[in-house]
């Protein structure tokens, strides 16, 4: 892998983590002293992606703006890696008029037509529409692809199986990416899934399946490159599963009492590990790291500033945009 690609992967992951740390700060800032989920500038549920950056960075590096991406209730890292407008995304998370959905969708329902990005709060719900984007691309004769991100828990949902079968049957240009962060809220993968690797499920649908271990961004990059190339070449879908890490709770406010390995989780953070690897390779220096982080902070704080200074949607407009 060339140096530029490796640095770009690192940059994207740093931007994503910086973003999630800022959202974490903003989310909790006005919910004290006791956590009140409905209070503050960013009320409601919040599902942050710290620890899962390698999946987003490694896959989206191969995508163009006109490739479609469907994501889950934990979408920020994927949106950032795919190039969704950070200002509008943040405004939407803050429920502002200038947001991607004019404040009507919120953090789990981000829609960006410019990058063909969408996400959903219903488990596995993004897989069938991903087959639809892929179907359209196939019919239109382009080499565009669709990527559906989902969780290891979602692989037990009916929509997952239907979508894989249909995509395989019609050889649709779609890549299914499972983020196995081991936890479906509080239920471990071992307690929910009959087999040890969802990648093995690909065989049931006659498509290639690959599991990537160790949350390794470069291994994700390589596997995703092959899968996306297959799809662009008209060879049909692929299933990838990445063993990744949910650094924080399922949602903010999750005490994670059910998680026995909690103490050692921070030690498995993929970003310091990759930083060390690139430093050893002579690609990163402390100065470069500092400047990348500063850049990320500046970009993120600009987006948050944009959101906070944007108007709240007027109540009289609550009934608008139901229909086109």
């Amino acid at each position: 892998m060339d140096e530029k690609t490796r640095l770009d992967l690192y940059r994207v992951m740093v931007l994503s983590r910086t973003y999630e740390e800022a959202i974490l700060r903003e989310y909790h800032a006005d919910k004290k002293p006791a956590f009140d989920i409905g209070a503050g500038l960013v009320p409601g549920e919040m599902h942050l992606s710290a620890g899962q950056e390698p999946v987003a960075a490694g896959v989206c590096a191969h995508l163009r703006d006109d490739d479609a991406v469907t994501a889950t209730h934990r979408p920020h890292h994927i949106a950032i890696a795919h190039g969704v407008d950070l200002d509008k995304m943040t405004a939407e998370i803050f429920g502002r008029q200038t947001g991607l959905g004019r404040g009507r969708g919120g953090h789990m329902h981000l829609f960006d037509p410019a990058t063909h990005f969408s996400c959903s709060g219903i488990v596995a719900e993004g897989l069938p529409p991903a087959t639809g984007h892929a179907f359209a691309f196939q019919r239109q004769g382009s080499d565009r692809v669709a990527v559906a991100f989902t969780g290891e828990g979602a692989a037990n949902q009916g929509a997952f199986h239907e979508s894989l079968n249909l995509a395989a049957l019609w050889k649709l240009p779609v890549v299914f990416v499972i983020e196995d962060n081991e936890w479906a809220i509080s239920v471990s993968r071992k307690a929910s899934t009959a087999i040890s690797s969802n990648a093995d499920r690909a065989a049931a649908y006659g498509i290639p399946g690959q599991r990537i271990e160790d949350n390794d961004v470069e291994a994700v990059y390589t596997a995703a490159g092959n899968a996306v190339a297959r799809a662009r070449a008209g060879e049909g879908p692929t299933l990838l599963e990445v063993h990744t890490l949910r650094l924080w709770g399922h949602f903010e406010g999750d005490a994670q009492g059910y998680r026995p390995d909690l103490a050692e989780v921070p030690g498995r953070d993929p970003i310091p590990a990759y930083e060390a690897r690139l430093t050893d390779a002579g690609i990163l220096t402390p100065d470069l790291v500092a400047s990348i982080k500063e850049e990320a902070v500046a970009r993120v704080e600009k987006a948050i500033g944009f959101a906070k200074s944007s108007p709240v949607p007027a109540p009289e407009t609550a009934l608008e945009y139901v229909f086109a």
């Binding site: 479609a68 469907t70 969708g105 037509p113 069938p128 529409p129 991903a130 639809g132 359209a136 019919r139």
Partner: protein, 350 residues
């Protein structure tokens, strides 16, 4: 005024040749597929079989398997596929074989297809038609006889149209395809004019040959009358018209029959205008009685001007019971002509 006149006035040529409702739907789809290459059809048995209720007969021969696609039994997947393709600018017509089957895929329908426009602040559109067969009366029992339009109409973000006759069926299908919103298009099996099911004579009627749109959200006055307003939809329109003819001949009672044609948007004005004239309201609905369409019509009058009513609202609907198999039981729960006639007579005190 006959049921077909309303459609004839929106067509530009005299409607001389007749079609069944099923053929009219297929013709509407075919004409749009000719006009717009982004229109395609998918669903179970809609290709070679032509649709279980013949709504897509002839399309495969005309347009080929690339645009008329038989799917596996995967409603969640193929309805979701329709949504994704629509977001990318295609115009899918997805058939759900029976409305009763919505359960296996309702998430994709009401939570995704219907909400994308709103959640995206109008930035993303889903120009999709979800068509489905509905209704009973031929002993298909509890899981294959439901109407369920109340359920779809209740949930925001999808238009709901329910044609009662061939001319409206074609015009509403063309309008639905051209609409940039998700449109749930529900056709009662009993109005399709199928050779293998008891036929209502009005299921075969003149249909203009060229393409035309029937406006979504606009009711039709199927019959004018001054004594009582019957608000209804789908097959019940035919029953109401039959009863109206009888009551006129036998008792000199003149019923006004309003064919709603669309539930979302709902033409409340048409209801209010008629009730203002007659002072009496009977709602006939083959969907379940409680928490649905009939209550919505009653509420429309009650919250606008209850003084319009000279008698309480009457409803003839399917009671809150699963539809029974035995014919004697099924005909006891459906909104039959007998029940409609009795309710209308009671309503006007005749």
């Amino acid at each position: 005024m006959s049921v077909t006149d309303s459609a004839a006035t929106t067509a530009s040529a005299p409607a001389a040749r007749k079609l069944t409702t099923a053929r009219a739907i297929a013709e509407g789809i075919a004409q749009e597929m000719e006009r717009d290459t982004s229109v395609f059809v998918l669903g179970e048995d809609i290709g070679k079989y032509g649709g279980i209720f013949s709504a897509t007969t002839g399309l495969l021969d005309k347009f080929g398997p690339e645009r008329v696609i038989d799917t596996p039994i995967s409603e969640t997947a193929f309805i979701g596929l329709g949504t994704g393709a629509a977001v990318e600018g295609m115009r899918p017509i997805v058939e759900l074989m029976f409305a009763d089957f919505f359960g296996v895929a309702m998430d994709q329908i009401y939570n995704h297809m219907a909400k994308i426009c709103f959640e995206s602040g109008g930035n993303v559109r889903v120009p999709m038609v979800l068509m489905m067969a509905a209704g009973g009366g031929y002993s298909d029992a509890a899981q294959h006889s439901q109407c369920l339009w109340g359920t779809f109409a209740h949930l925001p973000g999808m238009k709901v149209v329910v044609p009662s006759n061939p001319a409206d069926a074609k015009g509403l299908m063309i309008s639905a395809i051209r609409d940039d919103n998700p449109v749930v298009y529900m056709f009662h099996k009993g109005v399709m004019g199928l050779p293998w099911m008891a036929k209502n004579p009005r299921s075969i009627a003149p249909v203009a040959e060229e393409p035309y749109e029937t406006p979504i959200g606009q009711a039709a006055v199927a019959r004018e009358g001054g004594d009582a307003t019957v608000v209804t939809v789908s097959l019940s329109v035919h029953h109401a018209l039959d009863v109206a003819e009888q009551l006129s001949a036998e008792h000199g009672i003149e019923l006004e029959v309003i064919d709603l044609r669309s539930l979302v948007p709902l033409d409340r004005e048409a209801v209010l205008t008629s009730v203002a004239k007659t002072g009496h309201l009977l709602v006939v609905d083959e969907d379940y009685q409680s928490f649905g369409l009939s209550g919505e019509i009653a509420a429309t009058v009650a919250e606008t001007d209850p003084g319009l009513l000279r008698a309480p609202v009457r409803r003839v609907a399917v009671p809150d019971v699963p539809i029974p198999y035995a014919r004697s039981l099924e005909s006891a729960v459906l909104p039959t002509r007998e029940r409609i006639k009795a309710a209308a007579r009671e309503l006007v005190g005749a």
